[in-house]
């Protein structure tokens, strides 16, 4: 049962993962591990995906030109990580996706809690 719930949540995440990554990168460049941890932390471990699944999404975003990547030495450690950085195009895309998400969430909310809408 628990596994099924996990799968459902992951399916929901798939569509929005791109948006979450873009939003995370708004704070500044970070590498894959950081992005994964950040999403996990900020959702209070609700979205506890296998963070490896982040990478196909990251590379898809890079392919589309919404992020760029570069191997850079981490400020606190003596080793290189692949840092992803939001591009101007990515910033615009984030705005589009945010507004779409908002519209959808509102629409869904209107169906689920019609009373709240009336008051």
């Amino acid at each position: 049962m628990a596994k099924q719930a996990q799968q459902q949540r992951t399916a929901l995440l798939q569509g929005t993962l791109d948006m979450l990554i873009l939003r995370t990168l708004l704070y500044g460049p970070s590498h894959g591990h950081q992005i994964g941890k950040h999403i996990q932390r900020t959702t209070n471990d609700f979205l506890q995906m296998q963070h490896g699944s982040l990478y196909p999404a990251l590379h898809r975003l890079e392919q589309r030109g919404w992020v760029v990547s570069k191997w850079e030495t981490a400020p606190d450690r003596n080793r290189e990580f692949k840092y992803y950085r939001l591009t101007e195009k990515g910033r615009k895309q984030l705005l589009v996706e945010e507004s779409e998400w908002k519209q959808m969430a509102e629409a869904v909310a209107r169906v689920l809690w019609p009373a709240a809408e009336e008051s």
Binding site: H31, H33, H51, G52, Y55, P56, H59
Partner: protein, 877 residues
Amino acid sequence: MKWWQIRKRDADLDRELQSDLELEEGEQRERGVPAEEARYAARRAFGNTTLIREQVHEAWGWARFERFWQDIRYALRRLRRSAGFSITAVLILAIGIGATTAIFSLVNTVLLRPLPFPQSDRLVWINQQDHSLPGVVPEALSYPDYFDWRAQNHTLEGIASYSDGSATMELKGVPQRLDVRTVSSNFFDVLGAAPMLGRDFRWEEEKAGNRAVMLSYSFWQQQFGSSGDIVGRSIAMDGHSYTVAGVMPRQFMFPLDNPEPALWISIADDADGKEPPTVQRGFDGLGVFGRLRPGVTVAQAQADLSVIAGNLARQYPDNNKQYSSALVEPELAHITGDTRPALRMLSGAVSLVLLLVCANVGGLLLAHGSRRHGEFALRTAIGASRADIVRQLLIESLLVSLCGGAVGVALAFGLIRAMLRLVPQEIPRMGGAGIDGNVLLFVLVVSVAAGLLFGAFPAWRLSRSAPVGALREGARSIAGGKAQHRLQNGLVIAQTAIGMVLLIGSGLLMRSFIRILNVDPGFDSKHLLTSRIGIPPGKLKHDQHYLFYQQLLARVSALPGVEAASAGWPLPMSASHASISFNIQGRPVAKGDEPAEAAGVAMPGYFEAMRIPLIAGRFFGEQDGLAGPPTIIVNQAFVKKYFPSENPIGQHIQARIGDDVFEHPVREVVGVVGDIKGRGLTADTEPQYFLPYAQAVVTNPYLVVRTNGDPAAIQSAIASAVHELDKSVPVYQVSTMEDYLSKSAAQPRFQTFLVTCFAAIALVLAAIGLYGLLSYMVVQRTLEIGLRMALGAQRTDVLRMIVWRGLTLALIGAASGIALSVMLTRLLSGMLFHVKPTDPLTFAATAALLLLVSVAASSVPAYRAARLDPMTTLREQ
């Protein structure tokens, strides 16, 4: 994504994923998890690395490429494992693709390649149209007509003329006959070619007295040792002096004749004398071509020139009445026009061979593939989609066909070289045939098309195997079901039908070719040596000229081994021809309406030496000499056309041909001779008349010498007889009459040979196809056959069953082949000589041959089936 970055990007991804794993591992350890467990925990939290990598590849757009590469590697492995099958398929395909490529190379070289001149699509061939004859009949132009067309047209940048000829020149002490073209001064300019050395011809070199010559590269190299200071020097030919204007580049050649002209001379030569060709409007002997102005169409040029022709026809009715319009064609189309039907036919035949090859390999693949039902069923069961299996099978067949294409190119290379040796010399531009980019592209397209074609059936069939059934029954007893049998039968029937069409085509061409060889040319060609003697025009006076030949013939006749010797013009089959107008006394017509027929001249003894039969009256004798009354001999066709109900002997005819002594006298018909095939074995006999050479010294006649033995043996004796009389005249065009006849049949021989080769390939492949199918069937039905025999069937019953099966397929194939042939052979009718495209004998003989071969091909597997031991069979199955 660039493919060469794949490795680098992949390594990069690995590094990225690895560093994430390490970070996670570190975090786990910090939380106090033991080292060993930390690594597993990190992996669990991370997910399936292989899957992630594949998903990333998908994101990069590589997945498709990777799958494709995987398929290719897999296909290569499969093909290597069944090497026998792969090699057979590749070789069969190589034959089909190789033959197709060789023929395409001919088509490409002869028909498709543009002429080697700048903007050659604007070059047009120009002629006038003879409206006195039915149909579209082109006629060459005369100099005055050409000059008028050149001056008055509005649609062409330039019009140039050329005419054939030869000249005698002393080279290194030996008189030689050279091929020479007399060309207008703008000839090279209109073509867009310039001399590599010296200058172009000048306008004033068209006037009498300004003789100029342009050397071909090879002539300049061979005779003048590529000397740089040749320009401006004078060389002597036919007793005249010519100024060397320049040397053309090595690759320049026009007209595209064989042998190619050694040099080009200016019109000045034709402008010399009392009444030179340049002022004779009736002297229709010029080849003419032009260059269209930019944007002008062929039709516009034809309309423009037709206006001029119409005006000239009104202005000069005596000569031009029937030539009231022009004919214009693209030059390339004109040059290749005659070869088009033959090349089209060969392309069609070779396409059929390729189709048959595809059906053959398709059948092979199907039989081979049915052993793989288990494999495909398994793949389907573990999740391969139908498209995956079709793709896999198509990739396999494409690989096979591309290998076949590669081997085919090598084969075509050899075939082209063999064909060049066989090909009739009359086909222009053949020499350049070879394998170029166009041809390679063609091979690629054909290979891919063939691979898809023969791969499609098996792929479609095999991808339908239902996994459950196939896996349960096991690979061994699977026969592929009814549908596959039907498909295999269909492929064999198709092969037989195509083979039948090719065999019938080849049979018709062969019969036609035999008919051609059996044509009676009207003279006896055996033991006949012919040659020409190059006495320069103007060197000897009229009676000296005749005397020279008289003395020469006396000397040659006295040579040992010579039965008879004489001279005449034109020599049958030699491509020399003149049609000259005449009028019959008592039948007055306007000069422009006079009929014209083939004219000839003959020394006494010519008809006897050629063994042309006398029908009525007498042959020419010594009495038809300078002092005798003017006489004429006509042939049977002439009598049939002009004197159908009268006695031709004693009639009077005035021919418009003559020399400076006998201008245009009225001549008495003294004899009628048999018809001869003058223009080739397949041409109709035409009306012809002959004048005694003594009374019409118009050209150098051909020497004809009938010998007891091998005519080639007395060649040198004739040459020395000529040189005893005059050291400065060359003997040229030495050839036996048999050679002329053989050349006349060269084109049909070439076609017949190639199509027969194709038909032989087709027959063998169709037989192999049938044999393969029946062998396969016997293996599939071993159990059934064993059972039958165990239940009492005789060996002969089994034998009959299999042979009957093969014969049924062959019969259906032959019947469809005959039906197809009835439709297709009509296209051959233009190439068949006195053979109907639906010749019943050919059809029957071909069908018999095909059925015979089919029975032979069936009997081997049938015999094998009949020898099965029922006990062993039943135990093993």
